[in-house]
Symmetry: C2
Subunit: 133 residues, 2 copies
DNA sequence: CGGAGAATGATAACCATTATCAATATCAAC
DNA sequence: GTTGATATTGATAATGGTTATCATTCTCCG
Protein backbone atom coordinates (compact mmCIF):
# COMPACT_ATOMS: atom_id res chain seq x y z
CA UNK A 1 0.00 0.00 0.00
CA UNK A 2 1.26 3.41 -1.00
CA UNK A 3 0.79 6.38 1.32
CA UNK A 4 0.35 10.00 0.48
CA UNK A 5 2.47 11.37 3.28
CA UNK A 6 3.00 15.02 4.13
CA UNK A 7 6.35 14.87 2.36
CA UNK A 8 4.81 13.53 -0.81
CA UNK A 9 1.95 15.98 -0.54
CA UNK A 10 4.50 18.80 -0.37
CA UNK A 11 6.21 17.52 -3.52
CA UNK A 12 2.90 17.13 -5.30
CA UNK A 13 1.70 20.59 -4.28
CA UNK A 14 4.85 22.27 -5.48
CA UNK A 15 4.69 20.54 -8.84
CA UNK A 16 0.99 21.23 -9.23
CA UNK A 17 1.46 24.89 -8.37
CA UNK A 18 3.99 25.37 -11.20
CA UNK A 19 4.49 24.71 -14.86
CA UNK A 20 8.14 23.81 -14.56
CA UNK A 21 9.91 20.59 -15.38
CA UNK A 22 11.61 19.86 -12.08
CA UNK A 23 14.51 17.59 -11.39
CA UNK A 24 14.85 16.01 -7.96
CA UNK A 25 17.61 18.36 -6.84
CA UNK A 26 15.73 21.52 -7.75
CA UNK A 27 12.65 20.28 -6.02
CA UNK A 28 14.49 19.44 -2.82
CA UNK A 29 16.16 22.85 -2.81
CA UNK A 30 12.92 24.72 -3.40
CA UNK A 31 11.09 22.75 -0.73
CA UNK A 32 13.95 23.43 1.69
CA UNK A 33 13.70 27.16 1.05
CA UNK A 34 10.00 26.96 1.89
CA UNK A 35 10.57 25.25 5.24
CA UNK A 36 9.79 21.75 3.95
CA UNK A 37 13.20 20.16 4.18
CA UNK A 38 13.23 16.61 2.77
CA UNK A 39 16.03 14.10 2.43
CA UNK A 40 17.06 13.70 -1.17
CA UNK A 41 16.25 9.99 -1.11
CA UNK A 42 12.77 10.82 0.07
CA UNK A 43 12.35 13.17 -2.86
CA UNK A 44 13.40 10.51 -5.34
CA UNK A 45 11.13 7.93 -3.78
CA UNK A 46 8.28 10.38 -3.52
CA UNK A 47 8.57 11.34 -7.17
CA UNK A 48 8.58 7.70 -8.21
CA UNK A 49 5.55 6.95 -6.05
CA UNK A 50 3.62 9.96 -7.33
CA UNK A 51 4.40 9.13 -10.92
CA UNK A 52 3.37 5.56 -10.36
CA UNK A 53 0.07 6.75 -9.01
CA UNK A 54 -0.40 8.92 -12.09
CA UNK A 55 -0.36 12.13 -10.07
CA UNK A 56 2.67 13.54 -11.88
CA UNK A 57 4.45 12.68 -15.10
CA UNK A 58 8.06 12.80 -16.24
CA UNK A 59 10.35 13.09 -19.20
CA UNK A 60 13.68 11.35 -19.41
CA UNK A 61 16.38 13.67 -20.69
CA UNK A 62 19.95 12.63 -21.44
CA UNK A 63 21.28 13.56 -18.04
CA UNK A 64 18.31 13.40 -15.71
CA UNK A 65 14.63 12.86 -15.26
CA UNK A 66 12.32 15.85 -14.99
CA UNK A 67 8.87 15.87 -13.46
CA UNK A 68 5.81 17.95 -14.20
CA UNK A 69 2.09 18.14 -13.49
CA UNK A 70 -0.03 15.32 -14.84
CA UNK A 71 -3.24 17.29 -15.07
CA UNK A 72 -2.20 18.74 -18.39
CA UNK A 73 -2.25 15.28 -19.94
CA UNK A 74 0.34 13.87 -22.24
CA UNK A 75 2.26 16.14 -24.54
CA UNK A 76 5.61 16.28 -26.25
CA UNK A 77 8.59 18.55 -25.75
CA UNK A 78 10.86 20.91 -27.61
CA UNK A 79 14.25 20.96 -25.89
CA UNK A 80 16.63 23.85 -26.56
CA UNK A 81 20.15 22.53 -26.95
CA UNK A 82 21.60 25.92 -25.97
CA UNK A 83 19.75 26.99 -22.84
CA UNK A 84 18.04 23.73 -21.91
CA UNK A 85 14.64 25.37 -21.94
CA UNK A 86 11.70 23.04 -22.46
CA UNK A 87 8.60 23.98 -24.43
CA UNK A 88 5.54 21.83 -24.65
CA UNK A 89 3.28 20.96 -27.50
CA UNK A 90 0.43 18.62 -28.26
CA UNK A 91 -0.24 17.09 -31.62
CA UNK A 92 -2.93 14.48 -32.00
CA UNK A 93 -1.80 13.67 -35.48
CA UNK A 94 1.60 12.55 -34.29
CA UNK A 95 0.00 10.57 -31.53
CA UNK A 96 -2.47 8.68 -33.67
CA UNK A 97 0.26 7.94 -36.14
CA UNK A 98 2.40 6.44 -33.37
CA UNK A 99 -0.42 4.17 -32.30
CA UNK A 100 -0.90 3.08 -35.87
CA UNK A 101 2.76 2.18 -36.18
CA UNK A 102 2.72 0.19 -32.96
CA UNK A 103 -0.40 -1.68 -33.98
CA UNK A 104 1.01 -2.57 -37.37
CA UNK A 105 4.00 -4.09 -35.61
CA UNK A 106 1.95 -6.16 -33.15
CA UNK A 107 3.65 -4.12 -30.47
CA UNK A 108 1.57 -3.43 -27.37
CA UNK A 109 2.28 0.23 -26.87
CA UNK A 110 2.19 1.48 -23.31
CA UNK A 111 3.67 4.92 -23.75
CA UNK A 112 6.00 7.06 -25.76
CA UNK A 113 8.33 10.01 -25.54
CA UNK A 114 9.00 12.45 -28.33
CA UNK A 115 11.77 14.97 -27.85
CA UNK A 116 12.46 17.56 -30.50
CA UNK A 117 15.88 19.14 -30.16
CA UNK A 118 16.84 22.52 -31.55
CA UNK A 119 17.38 26.17 -30.77
CA UNK A 120 14.59 28.10 -29.14
CA UNK A 121 13.52 31.48 -30.43
CA UNK A 122 15.23 33.38 -27.65
CA UNK A 123 18.60 31.68 -28.14
CA UNK A 124 18.22 32.09 -31.86
CA UNK A 125 17.84 35.84 -31.37
CA UNK A 126 20.87 35.96 -29.11
CA UNK A 127 23.20 34.45 -31.65
CA UNK A 128 21.73 36.77 -34.28
CA UNK A 129 22.72 39.77 -32.17
CA UNK A 130 26.25 38.60 -31.59
CA UNK A 131 26.77 38.33 -35.32
CA UNK A 132 25.99 42.01 -35.67
CA UNK A 133 28.51 43.21 -33.13
CA UNK B 1 41.38 17.86 -36.64
CA UNK B 2 39.77 14.54 -35.98
CA UNK B 3 41.56 11.34 -36.89
CA UNK B 4 40.13 8.03 -37.97
CA UNK B 5 42.55 5.84 -36.08
CA UNK B 6 42.73 2.06 -36.15
CA UNK B 7 40.81 1.96 -32.87
CA UNK B 8 38.03 4.10 -34.25
CA UNK B 9 38.02 2.14 -37.47
CA UNK B 10 37.58 -1.03 -35.44
CA UNK B 11 34.60 0.47 -33.62
CA UNK B 12 33.09 1.71 -36.86
CA UNK B 13 33.58 -1.61 -38.62
CA UNK B 14 31.94 -3.57 -35.85
CA UNK B 15 28.94 -1.27 -35.80
CA UNK B 16 28.64 -1.26 -39.57
CA UNK B 17 28.84 -5.02 -39.74
CA UNK B 18 25.85 -5.43 -37.43
CA UNK B 19 22.32 -4.21 -36.92
CA UNK B 20 22.56 -4.01 -33.16
CA UNK B 21 22.20 -1.04 -30.87
CA UNK B 22 25.46 -1.19 -28.98
CA UNK B 23 26.36 0.37 -25.69
CA UNK B 24 29.99 1.25 -24.96
CA UNK B 25 30.52 -1.70 -22.64
CA UNK B 26 29.21 -4.29 -25.09
CA UNK B 27 31.31 -2.85 -27.86
CA UNK B 28 34.48 -2.91 -25.79
CA UNK B 29 33.84 -6.51 -24.77
CA UNK B 30 33.13 -7.66 -28.30
CA UNK B 31 36.19 -5.91 -29.67
CA UNK B 32 38.28 -7.46 -26.91
CA UNK B 33 37.06 -10.94 -27.82
CA UNK B 34 38.12 -10.27 -31.39
CA UNK B 35 41.65 -9.29 -30.46
CA UNK B 36 41.02 -5.53 -30.65
CA UNK B 37 41.32 -4.61 -27.00
CA UNK B 38 40.53 -0.92 -26.39
CA UNK B 39 40.47 1.10 -23.19
CA UNK B 40 36.93 1.93 -22.20
CA UNK B 41 37.66 5.66 -22.36
CA UNK B 42 38.88 5.23 -25.90
CA UNK B 43 35.63 3.54 -26.80
CA UNK B 44 33.58 6.39 -25.37
CA UNK B 45 35.69 9.01 -27.11
CA UNK B 46 35.68 7.05 -30.34
CA UNK B 47 31.92 6.71 -30.31
CA UNK B 48 31.50 10.42 -29.69
CA UNK B 49 33.91 11.30 -32.48
CA UNK B 50 32.27 8.92 -34.93
CA UNK B 51 28.82 10.21 -34.12
CA UNK B 52 30.04 13.76 -34.47
CA UNK B 53 31.36 12.93 -37.89
CA UNK B 54 28.00 11.45 -38.84
CA UNK B 55 29.44 7.96 -39.30
CA UNK B 56 27.25 6.41 -36.63
CA UNK B 57 24.12 7.49 -34.81
CA UNK B 58 22.76 6.98 -31.32
CA UNK B 59 19.66 6.81 -29.20
CA UNK B 60 19.58 7.96 -25.62
CA UNK B 61 17.76 5.48 -23.42
CA UNK B 62 16.98 6.01 -19.77
CA UNK B 63 20.10 4.32 -18.51
CA UNK B 64 22.58 4.54 -21.33
CA UNK B 65 23.34 5.62 -24.84
CA UNK B 66 23.23 3.08 -27.63
CA UNK B 67 24.93 3.39 -30.99
CA UNK B 68 24.03 2.00 -34.39
CA UNK B 69 24.94 2.32 -38.06
CA UNK B 70 24.20 5.65 -39.68
CA UNK B 71 23.83 4.32 -43.20
CA UNK B 72 20.24 3.32 -42.54
CA UNK B 73 19.34 6.95 -42.03
CA UNK B 74 17.18 8.31 -39.28
CA UNK B 75 14.39 6.20 -37.88
CA UNK B 76 12.50 5.81 -34.64
CA UNK B 77 12.41 3.01 -32.10
CA UNK B 78 10.04 0.65 -30.36
CA UNK B 79 11.51 -0.29 -26.99
CA UNK B 80 10.23 -3.37 -25.19
CA UNK B 81 9.85 -2.64 -21.49
CA UNK B 82 10.15 -6.32 -20.66
CA UNK B 83 13.16 -7.62 -22.57
CA UNK B 84 14.74 -4.32 -23.65
CA UNK B 85 14.64 -5.31 -27.29
CA UNK B 86 14.70 -2.46 -29.77
CA UNK B 87 12.80 -2.50 -33.04
CA UNK B 88 13.12 0.17 -35.67
CA UNK B 89 10.59 1.89 -37.82
CA UNK B 90 10.42 4.77 -40.24
CA UNK B 91 7.42 6.97 -40.71
CA UNK B 92 7.68 10.02 -42.89
CA UNK B 93 4.32 11.24 -41.75
CA UNK B 94 5.47 11.55 -38.17
CA UNK B 95 8.63 13.23 -39.32
CA UNK B 96 6.99 15.87 -41.48
CA UNK B 97 4.53 16.55 -38.70
CA UNK B 98 7.40 17.15 -36.25
CA UNK B 99 9.00 19.63 -38.58
CA UNK B 100 5.71 21.42 -38.97
CA UNK B 101 5.33 21.73 -35.22
CA UNK B 102 8.85 23.07 -34.80
CA UNK B 103 8.36 25.60 -37.57
CA UNK B 104 5.09 26.82 -36.13
CA UNK B 105 6.89 27.48 -32.86
CA UNK B 106 9.79 29.39 -34.43
CA UNK B 107 11.96 26.64 -33.07
CA UNK B 108 15.03 25.77 -35.15
CA UNK B 109 14.83 22.01 -35.08
CA UNK B 110 18.15 20.18 -35.28
CA UNK B 111 17.02 16.68 -34.45
CA UNK B 112 14.54 14.56 -32.60
CA UNK B 113 14.09 11.28 -30.82
CA UNK B 114 10.90 9.30 -30.68
CA UNK B 115 10.77 6.30 -28.40
CA UNK B 116 7.67 4.14 -28.27
CA UNK B 117 7.54 1.95 -25.18
CA UNK B 118 5.54 -1.23 -24.91
CA UNK B 119 5.65 -5.00 -25.00
CA UNK B 120 7.10 -6.68 -28.06
CA UNK B 121 5.32 -9.53 -29.74
CA UNK B 122 7.62 -12.18 -28.34
CA UNK B 123 7.21 -11.01 -24.72
CA UNK B 124 3.52 -10.68 -25.30
CA UNK B 125 3.36 -14.33 -26.32
CA UNK B 126 5.39 -15.38 -23.29
CA UNK B 127 2.95 -13.87 -20.81
CA UNK B 128 0.09 -15.40 -22.77
CA UNK B 129 1.60 -18.83 -22.25
CA UNK B 130 2.13 -18.42 -18.54
CA UNK B 131 -1.54 -17.60 -18.13
CA UNK B 132 -2.48 -20.95 -19.59
CA UNK B 133 -0.40 -23.06 -17.25
C1' DC C 1 64.20 14.05 -38.57
C1' DG C 2 61.41 17.14 -35.48
C1' DG C 3 57.71 19.05 -33.48
C1' DA C 4 52.77 20.30 -32.99
C1' DG C 5 48.56 18.50 -32.32
C1' DA C 6 45.58 14.39 -31.59
C1' DA C 7 44.63 10.04 -29.55
C1' DT C 8 45.31 6.41 -26.20
C1' DG C 9 44.79 4.02 -21.81
C1' DA C 10 44.70 3.65 -16.90
C1' DT C 11 42.39 5.52 -13.48
C1' DA C 12 40.26 9.10 -10.66
C1' DA C 13 36.35 11.89 -10.51
C1' DC C 14 31.54 13.04 -11.41
C1' DC C 15 26.76 12.89 -10.85
C1' DA C 16 22.16 11.16 -10.94
C1' DT C 17 20.01 7.63 -8.88
C1' DT C 18 19.24 3.48 -5.94
C1' DA C 19 20.20 0.42 -1.91
C1' DT C 20 20.77 -0.10 2.98
C1' DC C 21 19.20 0.16 7.50
C1' DA C 22 17.89 1.91 11.81
C1' DA C 23 14.45 5.02 13.41
C1' DT C 24 9.88 6.79 12.89
C1' DA C 25 5.19 7.28 11.18
C1' DT C 26 0.73 5.38 9.71
C1' DC C 27 -3.28 2.65 9.80
C1' DA C 28 -6.32 -1.11 10.92
C1' DA C 29 -7.85 -4.20 14.35
C1' DC C 30 -8.66 -5.13 18.86
C1' DG D 1 -5.80 4.24 22.90
C1' DT D 2 -2.59 0.31 22.44
C1' DT D 3 -0.52 -2.95 19.53
C1' DG D 4 1.47 -4.76 15.67
C1' DA D 5 2.22 -5.02 10.81
C1' DT D 6 3.62 -2.33 7.15
C1' DA D 7 5.29 1.81 4.86
C1' DT D 8 8.16 5.84 4.96
C1' DT D 9 11.93 8.66 6.21
C1' DG D 10 16.65 10.32 6.20
C1' DA D 11 21.58 9.81 6.35
C1' DT D 12 24.76 7.76 3.86
C1' DA D 13 27.07 4.15 1.15
C1' DA D 14 27.04 2.12 -3.15
C1' DT D 15 26.14 1.80 -8.16
C1' DG D 16 26.84 2.60 -12.88
C1' DG D 17 27.42 5.17 -16.96
C1' DT D 18 30.18 8.65 -18.46
C1' DT D 19 33.80 12.30 -18.44
C1' DA D 20 38.24 14.43 -16.84
C1' DT D 21 43.12 14.02 -16.05
C1' DC D 22 47.60 13.22 -17.49
C1' DA D 23 51.58 11.00 -18.94
C1' DT D 24 52.72 8.45 -22.99
C1' DT D 25 52.35 7.35 -27.77
C1' DC D 26 50.92 8.16 -32.40
C1' DT D 27 50.29 10.77 -36.73
C1' DC D 28 51.24 13.80 -40.10
C1' DC D 29 53.20 17.95 -42.15
C1' DG D 30 57.14 20.64 -43.17
Amino acid sequence: MVRLTVQRQAILDLINRSNQHWDAEELARCLGENGEQLGIATVYRGLAALENAGLIQSIQLADKKRYERADKGHHDHLVCIKCGDIEEFCDNKIESRQQQVAQDRLFQMTGHQLLIFGVCQSCSNDSQESKNL
